[in-house]
Amino acid sequence: MKIYFQKESFLVQENFEKFSKVNKASGSIISFVGKVRPITNNKEVIDIEIEIYKKMAIIQMKKIISMLMKKYKILDYLIIHRFGKVKPQENILLVIVASQHRKEGFRFIEDLVDWLKIKITFWKKENYLNDYEWVEQKITDRKIFLTKN
C-alpha cells in the first residue's frame, strides 16, 4: 500500500510485475495509466508543468484511500503521480490495485481517479509553441463530486 508523488518518470511494466509478485494470492490485478495528450484544444502540446502542494496532497490522498478501502475489498494498491515537467505521451499517473474479484478493483480505480481530479492538490499548465494555458477543472469532474458526495 504505497503512494509516491515524484518528479521522475516510472516504468509501468516493472511496477506491475513487482506488484504482482507481492500479491500472489489475489484473484485480480488491474492497472490504470494516465498520460499526457499530445494535442489539446487543437494545439500541439510541447510539455506540461505539474505543480503540487505535496503536504496537502498526501493528507488528502490518504483520506480518500481510507474512505475507499471501507467501501471496496482491496488487498493492496500502488499509486504514483508525477509532478514537474512532463512531455506528451509520457506517463503522469499509475494506479495498480489487487483484489480478490475484478469488480472491486475496477470500481476502486474509477472512484480514486474521480476523487483525485477534484481533491488532490496538483495543477497542470500546458505549454504550447507560442503560449500556455492553465488547465481548468472540468464541469463533468465536479458533477462526479456532487453525485459521490
Binding site: Y53, H81, K117, F122, W134
Partner: protein, 82 residues
Amino acid sequence: MKILYFAKLRQHLGKSSDSIKISDGKKISDVINELKNKNGNYRRAFDQVKNLQYALNCEYVDIEQTVRDRDELAIFPPVTGG
C-alpha cells in the same frame, strides 16, 4: 500566519507565499481583503483568478472559516491532477 499560493494565483502574484501577522478570530475573507488592500498587484490577482479554494492546515475549508495566527492557509484555483 503563513499563506501559500499555487498555480495561476501564484503566477499572477509573482510569489508562492506570504507571512503576515493576524489577530485570531479573523475569517479567511478578512485576510484576503487585507491582502487586496496591500496593493494593486494583489487586488488584480485575486480578482482575475476565479473559483478560488481554501485550505487550512491541509484541510479544505470555506472562505468564512476563522483562522489563527499559527495556521497555514493555502489559496488556489480548483485542482487539475490525474
